[in-house]
Each structure stands twice: as structure tokens, then as C-alpha cells.
């Protein structure tokens, strides 16, 4: 088997040398097809795979809370107050860490500068808590996260990215201990993390601030309802715990809080708490649903998968024509092989495997090309849309190796090659091999 495959490779090499133009065009065509399919795959990979610092994605849940007044008046409040977070999520069996943060910065721009009069940059902040750094696996280049005590004391301390530190102070040594002006208020840097790519929407920011700082507006709460507010909660499940277990565990707390609300305010509230898996916030949902099962994820992946197939199919039609021409010139060879005992099935395998060698060469080129394409378009609003960052101040999209090259991605690239190869070669090869032997032998080359 192996030796036969080696012979096919040799034969494929010989054929490549024999017909350089064919091979070049074929490889180029394949490369374009694989590159376009792999761009889709890379986007999905970034949305779904464990990539720094979101290396526990499987266990991360995004909690969505919404309160409704049931008195006929339309009123709805998303998010929770720190009090709400504390009372609902305070003591959970199945949670390893619970973090509340305020993601968006809709209120105003935040400008950072090292000292008055120095260069100012608009930054993307994240108002969060100490647990945030237990949910996401940040690598601290210097210092450490701010602590619970920092938050209790309303300390103006922050964690910043290495990229921002470099922008602010260049290579002037440690950033920890310095103060950074955010909208002209000084904050003490307590930690510097290796930057999370802006494409990691849940975890990325330029500056991480405790939500207890006054500017955050994070502690806003609804006068009618002290549990509703501006915070979003992330839960890191303990290993072995499921989403359902968390939902079940929250239920009594929810009921307790609801009845307490009724007795203190006299208002009947409805309270929906949804535990979304991380992916529900990272992929673009084509079938919006409240079903967060794996089946639902797969359903949502159907459209990107179909688009990948389409990207492969269109070039495959052209490539198939080329293979067909090529087979025409090999009819006699196929006749000879049959005359000496080759079964049609064996020859079909041979043709497809030989073609696979060419396809794989194209696949490697295409894979590299997809990397280059993504790199080139990574700053465009169109690309950032896929990561819901098109409205944020993102100026440099840093990317990691793991976004492009992982065993899974190699496997996907290989499957794409195999599928493309079959689509391009199966029909022409079979048509050609169906011809009667005598007719093939008498074919003039």
C-alpha cells in the first residue's frame, strides 16, 4: 500500500515535470480554492478555538440577565448590579470563578497618556474585577492583577497590555508602579499582561480597570430594582460541571431574590437569566435561537461550512475540466494498465491519489496564502465585523500562531484538499476509465 502510494507520488512528479503548464495552473487554481475556504476556517477558528487568553472557552458561560416589569408598562433592564451579582452568584458549587465586568464603553472615549503634554491615545477599557484574571489565562509580563482588596478600597489601579506600556514608555524599563493618566486622572499600573488580540472580544482590552472606580458607571443601578445594573457576568465552570447544573443551582437564588424584590418594592418582576456558552457571543448567529446545545452550534456552523464548500466547488468545476483534458492524453496508458490486470477501481484510486499529490501542493500554497490574506485584511471593518469589533477603537490587530496553525486547522485544510480533489477528479477519471480497453489502446496520443 505504502509503496504503491510512493509510486503514485513518483508518477505524479513525473507527470508534473512532463506538463509543467498544466501543473502550475492546477496548483494555482487549487491554491485559490483552498485559500478562500481556509479564510472562512480561520475566522471560525478564531471565534471558536482556545486561543490566548481564552484557553478555557469550553467552560466559560456568558450570563445574560434581563428584568421585566409585569405591570403592563414596557420596561426592561439588561445587566446586573454588583449587589445582584453578589447575591445571585455568591456561593456556587459548580463555578470555579465568577467575574462581573462592563464591556462596552458607550459613554465616552478614554484617552491615555503617560504625562500631561505627552502623546495621547484612545484606549479600549474593560471595567472588571479580580476574578476576570482567573477566568482568562493572561500571561503577566510584569506585576499581577489588582486584588479584591484593591476593589474594596476603590483603588485607582489598573492592568495594562504590554503593547500599551510600550506605546507609553517605550523601553524605559518597568511599567509597574508608574502612573498612567486616563482622561487626566492618574491610575497606578499594577500589572502588565501580554496583549490579547482584539479579535478575542470577550477578553481583549488595552486597560483593565476595577469596576469600582468612579468613572466606570458600572455600579449604576436601577432605583426600582437594586439587582439590575450595568454588569455582565462570566462564569468559569468547574471541570466536569455542565451548563444545566449551573442553571439548576441558580434557580433557588433567583426565586429568593424575586420574592424579596416583591416584598420590598411591591413590584412584580419577571427575571430571565440565560447562560450562554461562549460561542453564542462569538459566532455570527445565522439561526438566532435560545437553544445552546452542541446541535445548535453545528446548525449555526452549517452556513459557513456551506460557504466553504461553495468556495471549493466553483474552482472544482474548472479543475475538473482540466483533469478531464489531462485524462484524455492518458487514455492509452490506462488501457495498457487494464490490459495487464489493473482493476478499474485500482486505477481510479491511482488517478485520484496522483491528483491528490498536486492538490496537496496547491493546498500548502493555499494555506499559506490564506494566512497572508487574513493578515492583510485583518484591519478592515469587514473582517472586524466577524469579531464584533468594527465599532471599537482597534488600530492594530495582533494575531497569534494558534489562530492559523493548529492540528485541527491542518486537518481541515487536508479535508478541504481531499474534498476538492474528489470533486475535481472523480467524475473525469471515472468517465475516462469506463472506456473499453481496445478503444483506449488504439487511442492516438
Amino acid at each position: 500500500m505504502m509503496s504503491r502510494f510512493l509510486i503514485y507520488i513518483r508518477q505524479a512528479m513525473a507527470l508534473m515535470k512532463e506538463d509543467k503548464l498544466f501543473s502550475c495552473i492546477y496548483v494555482a487554481g487549487t491554491a485559490v480554492a483552498i485559500a478562500s475556504a481556509m479564510v472562512v476556517a480561520i475566522i471560525l477558528n478564531i471565534q471558536l478555538a482556545d486561543i490566548y487568553p481564552e484557553t478555557n472557552r469550553e467552560r466559560i458561560l456568558h450570563m445574560k440577565s434581563s428584568f421585566y416589569k409585569e405591570d403592563g408598562n414596557v420596561g426592561r433592564w439588561y445587566g446586573m448590579s454588583p449587589k445582584g451579582v453578589e447575591e445571585l452568584f455568591g456561593n456556587l458549587e459548580c463555578a470555579e470563578a465568577v467575574s462581573a465586568s462592563k464591556d462596552d464603553n458607550l459613554i465616552y472615549d478614554i484617552k491615555a497618556c503617560a504625562e500631561l503634554g505627552k502623546q495621547e491615545v484612545t484606549i479600549f477599557p474593560k471595567f472588571t474585577d479580580d476574578a476576570f484574571f482567573r477566568i482568562y489565562s493572561f500571561e503577566f509580563v510584569e506585576g499581577k492583577p489588582f486584588s479584591k482588596e484593591n476593589m474594596e478600597h476603590d483603588d485607582y489601579c489598573i492592568v495594562i497590555t504590554d503593547a500599551l506600556a510600550k506605546k507609553m514608555w517605550g523601553d524605559e524599563g518597568e511599567a509597574v508602579g508608574r502612573s498612567l493618566l486616563l482622561n487626566y486622572l492618574p491610575y497606578r499600573v499594577v500589572g502588565v499582561v501580554k496583549e490579547a488580540s482584539p479579535l478575542m472580544r470577550a477578553s481583549s482590552a488595552d486597560v483593565y480597570l476595577p469596576y469600582t472606580v468612579k468613572d466606570s458607571n458600572a455600579q449604576y443601578n436601577n432605583p426600582d430594582n437594586p439587582y439590575s445594573g450595568a454588569m455582565e457576568v462570566r462564569v468559569l465552570l468547574k471541570r466536569g460541571c455542565t451548563r444545566q447544573m449551573l442553571v439548576d443551582e441558580l434557580e433557588p437564588h433567583r426565586n429568593r431574590i424575586l420574592s424579596e424584590l416583591k416584598s420590598t418594592t411591591g413590584i412584580e418582576f419577571r427575571w430571565d437569566i440565560v447562560a450562554k456558552p461562549y460561542w453564542a457571543d462569538s459566532i455570527i448567529p445565522f439561526f438566532p435561537t435560545n437553544d445552546y446545545s452542541t446541535g445548535s452550534l453545528l446548525l449555526n456552523l452549517l452556513l459557513p461550512a456551506l460557504s466553504m464548500l461553495l468556495f471549493l466547488l466553483l474552482p472544482a468545476i474548472n479543475l475538473s475540466g482540466m483533469v478531464s483534458n489531462r485524462m484524455e492524453s492518458r487514455v492509452a496508458e490506462m488501457g495498457i494498465r487494464k490490459a495487464f490486470g489493473a482493476k478499474k477501481r485500482v486505477l481510479l484510486n491511482q488517478v485520484i491519489q496522483e491528483n491528490l499529490v498536486l492538490t496537496l501542493v496547491g493546498g500548502i500554497v493555499g494555506y499559506a496564502l490564506s494566512f497572508a490574506v487574513v493578515k492583510a485584511i485583518s484591519n478592515t471593518p469587514m473582517f472586524l465585523t466577524f469579531f464584533q469589533r468594527d465599532n471599537d477603537p482597534v488600530d492594530n490587530v495582533s494575531m497569534q500562531f494558534g489562530m492559523f496553525f493548529t492540528p485541527t486547522m491542518f486537518l481541515i485544510a487536508f479535508v478541504c484538499c481531499a474534498v476538492l480533489n474528489l470533486m475535481a477528479a472523480l467524475i473525469p477519471a471515472w468517465t475516462s476509465l469506463k472506456r473499453p480497453i481496445v478503444e483506449s489502446l488504439n487511442q492516438k496520443k
Partner: protein, 222 residues
């Protein structure tokens, strides 16, 4: 060894119908060296192709090495028969141009699923037998016609088939080379006892074989 009974072959194209073979009955014994002669277009190649299971008769029965070849036999079974029982030598050699001598010769063994080392060992043996040991790594275009036909003969015999079918094996060669090829075939017949059926236009060569059959317009006349 080979028995054809009531074999007919009709080619139908849109306008005309050609009766290439008409009620052919032939029996070839083990160890025979038979030549088939006749004018161009009388059906000699068609006959040989049917004997070699490269083509199917319109009607009639074929028996090879005591096995009746069922017309409905699968591609797989036919391929196995060709691989084990038959060796072909064609007028235009039919070597695979992208493969070297060694790889061309080992082809039938490859389709038998034999290991690479053993295939190469046997290929070298038969190539030596046809006197081309010094040309093993050459490709067909680097060889003369006579040398190509020797390679083809080596390929035909590597699998030890009982039957060798040769369609004008010397038709593309000058008389000296043709003579050498004839000598080689005779040797295979006499020393190895292989059954050979050869189509030829050359009276002298035909006379060197043990039996001659003559054809005219698809019928055996002698």
C-alpha cells in the same frame, strides 16, 4: 488451452454494421505456437483481443485454461484473468512513456499485489533474459523499436502467464530486429512451453510457427 466456439463480433456504428468475426471456432493446444494471417481488416486483431479478454464477442463462447469466460463477468474477475493467464505484445509496444524500463516491466506484478522488492528482483531477471540489463533505468523514448519490443516481451512474461498473445509484434521493426524478436518468442515457446498466438503479415515468420490459420473477411479459411 484456448477454445473459441461460434464467436461473432459485429461493430455497429450509426450507418454501417461490420461483421468483424463470423462464426469463428478455434482451439489452441497447450504449448502451441500459432500464427494468424490474413489481409488487413479481416478481423485478426479483433480475434486476438477477444481471446485476450480485452474485448467481448457479440456472441459465442470463450474458454481459457479450462475456464469458461462468462460474458457477465465483473471487471475485477476479468482483470484477474488477464493478469494471471495472459501476456500481451502489441505492434506499437504500448509502453508507458513516463515509466522507466524496470517500472514498465513490473506492472503486471504490481496489480497482483506483490511486494516491491520481489517485483524488482523478478523484473531484473526478465529484463536480463531479453538482453536489456544495461537499459533498466531508461525510459521508452530513449530506446530503439527493437529494444521497446523486448521490454514489452519482458512485461508479457514477468507474470508467468500460460498464454502470450502477440499482435504483429514485428510490424514496426526492420527485418533484423524482427528476426531477433521472433527468435525470442520461439525460445519462450520451445524452452518455457508457453502457448503463443501471433498475428503476422510475414510469411517467413509464420512458417517458423507450428500452425498457421488464415482469415478472410472475418472467417477462418484455412
Amino acid at each position: 488451452m484456448i477454445r473459441l466456439t461460434g464467436v461473432n463480433k459485429v461493430y455497429r456504428t450509426e450507418e454501417i454494421e461490420t461483421q468483424a468475426l463470423e462464426n469463428v471456432n478455434i482451439e489452441v493446444q497447450r504449448g502451441e505456437f500459432l500464427s494468424i494471417m490474413g489481409p488487413s481488416g479481416c478481423g485478426k486483431s479483433t480475434l486476438l483481443n477477444i481471446m485476450g479478454l480485452l474485448d467481448v464477442p457479440t456472441s459465442g463462447e470463450i474458454e481459457l485454461c479450462g475456464t469458461r469466460i462468462d460474458p457477465g463477468l465483473s471487471d475485477q474477475r476479468l482483470a484477474e484473468f488477464r493478469n494471471r493467464m495472459l501476456g500481451f505484445v502489441f505492434q506499437s509496444f504500448h509502453l508507458i512513456s513516463s515509466l522507466n524500463v524496470l517500472d514498465n516491466v513490473q506492472l503486471p506484478l504490481m496489480y497482483r499485489g506483490m511486494g516491491y522488492g520481489e517485483r524488482m528482483r523478478r523484473a531484473k531477471e526478465v529484463i536480463e533474459r531479453v538482453g536489456l540489463s544495461h537499459r533498466m533505468k531508461h525510459t521508452p523514448v530513449q530506446l530503439s523499436g527493437g529494444q521497446c519490443q523486448r521490454v514489452a516481451i519482458a512485461r508479457a512474461i514477468i507474470g508467468n502467464p500460460e498464454i502470450i498473445l502477440a499482435d504483429e509484434p514485428t510490424g514496426n521493426l526492420d527485418s533484423k530486429m524482427g528476426g531477433e524478436i521472433m527468435a525470442l518468442l520461439k525460445q519462450l515457446n520451445e524452452e518455457d512451453g508457453r502457448t503463443i498466438v501471433m498475428v503476422t503479415h510475414n510469411d517467413l515468420q509464420a512458417q517458423q510457427t507450428k500452425r498457421i490459420i488464415k482469415f478472410l473477411d472475418g472467417r477462418q479459411i484455412l
